[in-house]
C-alpha cells in the first residue's frame, strides 16, 4: 500500500490530469461520482472544498476527501478508472446527488416507495410506520445510511462494478 498525491494516481494519466483540470475549470458540470470515472473525484473535491488523499491498494484506488468540518467522503475506483463505491461519515452529510450521480434518482425512488409502503393506507388496512436506518438493496445499487444527529455514516456501491478479488464490504 502506498500513498500517492492526487496527480500521481494510477488511473490519472497525463491525459487524465488534463481532463481533470479541464473539468475543474468548468463552472458547473454534470459529472458525478458513483459509476463515473476517476476524474469526477477531483470535481467532488472541488465542490466539497476538501483535501484529498489517495491510496493505491492494487485492486482499487481509495480517494478520501476530508472537509473543513472533519466529515469525510471516500471514493473507491477500479483499476480501470470507474468509481464503484462511495462512503461518507461525519456530522454533516455530503451532497448525495453529487456523490451518487446517476444512481441518486434510483435510490430516491426506492426510498420513496419504501416510505410510501409504510405511510399510505392500503386497501382500507392501516400500515405499520417504521423508523430506522435507510437500507436500499436493488440489483444495481446497494445503499445504507445509519447514525444519528451529529454522527452519520453511509455507503453506496454498484455490485456489478466491484472489481474481482475485492469485497463489497471494503467500501466503508
Amino acid at each position: 500500500m502506498k500513498s500517492l498525491t492526487c496527480f500521481r494516481l494510477r488511473s490519472a494519466s497525463g491525459l487524465g490530469s488534463l481532463l481533470a483540470l479541464f473539468l475543474l475549470l468548468l463552472p458547473f458540470n454534470a459529472w458525478a461520482a458513483l459509476g463515473d470515472n476517476a476524474a469526477s473525484v477531483l470535481t467532488d473535491q472541488a465542490r466539497m472544498k476538501g483535501t484529498l488523499s489517495s491510496i493505491d491498494n492494487r485492486t482499487y484506488v481509495l480517494h478520501e476527501i476530508t472537509m473543513v468540518s472533519g466529515a469525510k467522503v471516500r471514493e473507491y475506483v477500479t483499476p480501470g478508472g470507474a468509481v464503484f463505491g462511495v462512503a461518507w461519515e461525519g456530522q454533516f452529510l455530503p451532497d448525495l446527488e453529487l456523490l451518487l450521480g446517476a444512481y441518486y434518482q434510483q435510490a430516491q425512488q426506492a426510498a420513496a416507495e419504501q416510505a410510501a409502503s409504510t405511510q399510505t393506507q392500503q386497501g382500507g388496512v392501516p400500515v405499520r410506520r417504521a423508523r430506522g436506518p435507510m437500507v436500499i438493496e436493488m440489483p444495481g445499487l446497494v445503499l445504507v445510511q445509519t447514525g444519528h444527529m451529529r454522527s452519520f455514516h453511509g455507503v453506496a456501491y454498484v455490485p456489478q462494478l466491484v472489481p474481482q478479488g475485492v469485497q463489497a464490504s471494503d467500501v466503508r
Partner: protein
C-alpha cells in the same frame, strides 16, 4: 448689605435650581427629581408570591415621597438572584423557604421596602411525563410501532396562548422540539435573523429529512418548562419556501415532516446527548461556508447561514430551570410477541431528584465531538462496532446483516431486507457494550448485554404496537477487515424492562455526554 447679598444669593440659587430641574426633566423625560424632594417610603410586591425551585417572580417597587424625588430602586434578595428590573429567580430548594426581596431607594439608601416570596421544592413527580407506546396519532391509516410518545404543551412566549399536543415522539437520537405545521394552532413568533430574514432549518434524520421555519415557544412537559426556546415548524415541500436542493440532496429519503402520517407523530421532542441540534458546527468557526443546516430565507430564496448556538433549536431539557442534566426513560418489560400498548415514564434530570438517580446503572461515555460523536463500542461475535448508539427514535434493534449474523431478513409484505425473520424465534443473542473516547478507543469495561429477537412477520401479524424483540439489519457491507465502520442501533426494543439514561453534554455528575443503563 448682608441681607441684600443673601437675598441675591437666594435668587441666584433659585435660578440655578430651576435650570437644574428643567435640565433634569429634559434628561429624564419628566420622571426625575432633585435634592429638594424627599423619599418617604418604598413598597414592594412580587407576583406570583409563591413559586417553586428555579421559577421566576416579577417584583415591582412603588416609591413615594415629596417634591421631585428619585423613584428608582436597587434590588436584592435573601436567596436566589434578582435582576435590575426586579425579576427574582428562585434557588433550587429541598424544603420550603421564604425569600425576602428588598428594594432600596437610590436617592436615600436609608429607605427601603420588602416583600416575601415563598419558594417551594418541586413537588414529587413534577419531573415525570407519562410515556405511552401505542398505535400513534392516526391509527386508522398508520399504526406506529415501538414509538414512545409524550404530551407536550407549547405556548406563545409572554402570552396565555397555549396548545397541548399529544403523540410527541421522545427521541434520544436528536435534540430539539419540532412540530408538524398542520398540527400547530397557535401563532408562534418567527425567529428572524438580525437582518430581518426568516430563519429556516433542514434537519436530516436516518430515513429522510424535515424542513421548516424556526420559531420561538415556551415548552412545558410534566412540571418542567423551558422558556423562549427556538423550535422548528415542519412544512410540506409544496409549501413555500420549498426545501432547497442542498437540503434534500443530503439524503435519498423523502421529506418526512410534511404531514402527521408522513412523520408518524404530531411532533418530536429530541432529548438526546447534545444541547443543540447542530452545535459549534453551525457557528462561524472560520469555516469556508456554512453547512446545509440553517438557512436565511429572504423572498429571493434560501441560502445556508451561520447561526449562534443560542439561535439554534436546542434540547429543551438543557434549558429547564431544574432537572436539566439529562433524561431517564423507564419502560416495563414486554413479553415475547409484544404488547398492545405500554405505559412508562420520561423522567427529567439525572441525579437531581429521588426518582432519577443512576443507582447501579453502568455509564457508557461517548465523544462530544468528531465523526464518532455520541457513539460507543458494541462488540458482536468478536468484532468491534465503534459507531453504536442508543436511540429511542429507532423502532428496534438494528445491526449488521444476514451475511454476518446468519439471520435471514423477512420476505413477504414487508419492505424487503428491512427486518429480521430468525428461523429460531425467539433467537437469544449476546453482545458487549463499552464506552468510547474521541479517538474511537474503548473507555471502561465491555459489559455483556443479552437480547432476543423474533420473526418480524409474526410480530406484525398481531395488533401489538410494543415489541422488545423487533429487529432488522443495517449494513450489508460492514463487518470484515481491520477497521469496520458500522453500528449497532439499540432502538426502543432495548429500552423495555430497563432504566436507560441519556446524559447531556457538559453537565451533571458524571459529566455528559453518556448513555447509562
Amino acid at each position: 448689605m448682608t441681607f441684600a447679598e443673601g437675598d441675591n444669593r437666594v435668587r441666584k440659587l433659585g435660578f440655578f435650581l430651576v435650570l437644574a430641574t428643567l435640565s433634569l426633566l429634559a434628561a429624564c423625560g419628566g420622571g426625575g427629581g432633585n435634592s429638594i424632594g424627599t423619599v418617604t417610603a418604598v413598597s414592594v410586591s412580587c407576583s406570583p408570591s409563591t413559586i417553586t425551585s428555579g421559577q421566576t417572580s416579577q417584583c415591582s417597587a412603588t416609591v413615594t415621597g415629596t417634591g421631585n424625588f428619585v423613584s428608582t430602586v436597587t434590588w436584592s434578595a435573601s436567596a436566589g438572584s434578582i435582576s435590575a428590573s426586579g425579576v427574582l429567580t428562585a434557588p433550587v430548594v429541598s424544603t420550603s423557604l421564604v425569600d425576602t426581596v428588598t428594594a432600596t431607594s437610590v436617592q436615600n439608601s436609608g429607605v427601603s421596602g420588602t416583600a416575601s416570596v415563598t419558594i417551594n421544592p418541586q413537588s414529587a413527580g413534577a419531573n415525570v411525563a407519562p410515556i405511552i407506546v401505542d398505535s400513534g396519532p392516526d391509527p386508522t391509516n398508520i399504526i406506529t410501532t415501538n414509538v414512545p410518545f409524550v404530551t407536550v404543551t407549547i405556548c406563545v412566549p409572554g402570552t396565555t396562548q397555549c396548545q397541548t399536543i399529544d403523540h410527541v415522539t421522545v427521541d434520544t437520537g436528536s435534540s430539539g422540539f419540532r412540530v408538524v405545521s398542520s398540527v400547530l394552532s397557535i401563532p408562534l413568533p418567527a425567529e428572524d435573523l438580525s437582518g430581518g430574514n426568516p430563519l429556516y432549518e433542514c434537519t436530516v434524520f436516518l430515513d429522510g429529512f424535515v424542513w421548516g421555519s424556526v420559531a420561538t415557544a415556551n415548552i412545558t412537559v410534566a412540571g418542567e418548562t423551558a422558556s423562549n426556546v427556538p423550535v422548528q415548524i415542519m412544512i410540506p415541500s409544496s409549501t413555500s419556501p420549498a426545501p432547497p436542493s442542498s437540503c434534500s440532496s443530503q439524503t435519498t429519503g423523502p421529506n418526512e415532516g410534511g404531514s402527521v402520517d408522513a412523520f408518524g407523530a404530531n411532533a418530536i421532542i429530541g432529548v438526546g446527548l447534545f444541547m443543540q441540534d447542530c452545535g459549534p458546527g453551525c457557528t462561524n468557526l472560520g469555516n469556508n461556508s456554512p453547512p446545509d443546516v440553517y438557512y436565511a430565507c429572504p423572498s429571493s430564496g434560501c441560502n445556508p447561514t451561520f447561526v449562534t448556538t443560542a439561535q439554534q433549536v436546542p434540547n429543551p431539557v438543557g434549558l429547564f430551570a431544574v432537572d436539566n442534566t439529562g433524561v431517564l426513560i423507564q419502560l416495563p418489560s414486554v413479553p415475547d410477541g409484544g404488547s398492545p400498548t405500554v405505559n412508562g415514564s420520561l423522567i427529567f434530570g439525572i441525579g437531581t431528584e429521588s426518582n432519577n438517580g443512576l443507582g447501579s446503572a453502568v455509564v457508557y461515555q461517548v465523544p462530544d465531538t468528531g465523526n464518532n460523536a455520541g457513539n460507543f463500542i458494541t462488540t458482536y461475535s468478536g468484532t468491534q462496532y465503534p459507531q453504536s448508539f442508543v436511540d429511542s427514535g429507532s423502532n428496534g434493534y438494528f445491526f449488521l446483516d444476514s451475511a454476518i449474523t446468519g439471520i435471514p431478513t423477512c420476505t413477504g409484505n414487508l419492505p424487503a431486507n428491512t427486518w429480521y425473520c430468525p428461523t429460531t424465534s425467539p433467537d437469544n443473542l449476546t453482545a458487549t457494550n463499552q464506552g468510547e473516547n474521541a479517538s474511537g478507543s474503548g473507555v471502561g469495561s465491555a459489559v455483556p448485554v443479552n437480547f432476543s429477537i423474533e420473526n418480524t412477520n409474526t410480530l406484525f401479524s398481531t395488533d401489538n404496537t410494543a415489541f422488545s424483540t423487533l429487529s432488522g439489519p443495517i449494513a450489508p457491507t460492514c463487518g470484515s477487515g481491520s477497521n469496520p465502520a458500522c453500528a449497532f442501533d439499540w432502538g426502543l426494543s432495548f429500552f423495555y424492562g430497563k432504566k436507560v439514561f441519556t446524559g447531556l453534554e457538559n453537565v451533571g455528575n458524571p459529566v455528559g455526554p453518556y448513555f447509562a443503563y
